[in-house]
Amino acid sequence: MIWSKKDILWIGAVGGLFAVLPLLLPKIGSSIPVGTEIMIWGIFATGFNILLGGTGILSFGHAAFFGLAGYATGLLILKDRLPLALAIPAAVLGAFLAAALIGALIIRKRGIYFAMLTIAFGQMFYFIASQWNSLTGGLDGLTGFKRTVFLGFDIKPEVNFFYFVFGFFLLTLLFVRALLNSSIGKTLVAIRENVHRAEFLGIDVKKYQHFAFVASATFSGLAGALYALLLNFAFPELLHWKTSGDAVLMSVIGGMRAFFGPLVGAGIFVFLRDIISTYTIHWALPLGAIFVVFVLFFQKGILGIFERGNGR
């Protein structure tokens, strides 16, 4: 089995929890789209963590693929050009191809240089989106598209869209878990733990790093497509390196070494933002402060606190 019994149990439990969220959320003063958003960021962060926690590579440019797929989705269903069932896969494919190309170019650079290159490419996308007014609507963003029907299933209502995203959410959890369990996932761990020893075990390190980059970016794309459909809106900030930073933040706070860490981080991020913003608009301060604390003292994140031995 590519999933252990424990995997199925946990994913089942998490799935079960999210399945009843639309009933719980209104009761605690929140709303269904918040739950949808948590799942979408969960997809983004869990996929992203294949690269960060799984392979040990930091990218500040994944928002480029998130936003690219978001814009692509919007553009493809604008004026009913394409049905949603084709637009979403096309958008995700777009993110995949962009990542394959960019990844091939930059993966040979290490550490800080790689991180800065991801920022550079992300910002290029950002500026293209904000300047190309005729195509993307520029700084005002892309409007005029609306989610309607997916293979006959009406996803306009919030609840329906929630369960639509829920399907992708479950698939993501299952797929990423299987990947990390597989020999590929284990090879990525070897690369993360000691890249030279990995090389000297006969592992083509660059090839696997590229794979991790592309795989994580594809999930960023999926999340981006769904996000654009959640808001019926796409805007340049989706591509900005700060949005990439949000994914990093979620993975670090939730715990990059734990499978559900990024999801926990996503939940915390969305809740903090939504709850704190009812008291003050300055939610970035406690969030940034919490992030700093985690980077310094709890490098294994929240879920790492339950592991034996913490910190470094």
Partner: protein, 290 residues
Amino acid sequence: MELSLLLSQLFNGIATGMLYVLMAMGLTIIMGTMGVVNFSHGVLFAFGAYFAYLIAEKAGFFGALLMAPVVVGMIGMVLERGLVARVYGKDPLYGLLLTFGLAMALEEVIRIGWGTAGLPFSAPGFLSSFIDLKIMFYPAYRLAVLGFILLLIAALWFFLERTTTGKIVRAGIQDSVMVGILGVNTKALFTGVFGLGTFLAGLAGVLAAPMAGIMPTMGDNVIMPSFIVIILGGIGSFWGSVTGGLMLGIIVSLCIQFVPAVAELSMYLVMALVLLVRPRGLFGEEGLFE
């Protein structure tokens, strides 16, 4: 293309470039000495401007120019002792993450303290006019900034080349471990370097305030160009920062003149090109961070 227009745009490029040089200088000594990628440099630049706004009410522009950077430098040293020092020796990505989080939190502090709207800040009276340079009219303030930063660069050069402390700093940039073995108090050195670097960022913020206005996001707009400058010039290199800053300032200004939509994009293209073709930049050392 009118010569005066081209020239004034060129001068604008040099003026912006000079600000980039100050920022890059601070960033590069921090990166070179402690291996920390200081993402909070932008927000400290902004703090320089905001403190200048506060101080100028009582002490005027020149009072602000004198004191605001010092305050920023001191804040920098506190941040270094309390937070940044904890990530020395670890994977450089921790420093990046830490300062990223700091930048996020500190930018919000600015919004809490001074609101989200921009603040006005004017240059000292005698500099708010235009100077007749025969071929063009150019704002006196920008010329003054240009001159001032040139003097500052000379002073920094003198400090680094001719004073004992400066030489220690340079040695630290080359090899901070070795410097410690030779008996230098690295703790003090690192704090001092971080303080100097952030002082320069605050100073750049004060100087930039009359030119670009004061806004909470002003740091965001300079942090990336500053990184691009040190990548272009070479991490840890004095002349790299100077050359890189000037080059980038001019490239961007000319782009704004001829192909405005591409101006910001061109910066990132430059960065990507350098990183892919010659990661050490123009004057940097091979193998750093590779």
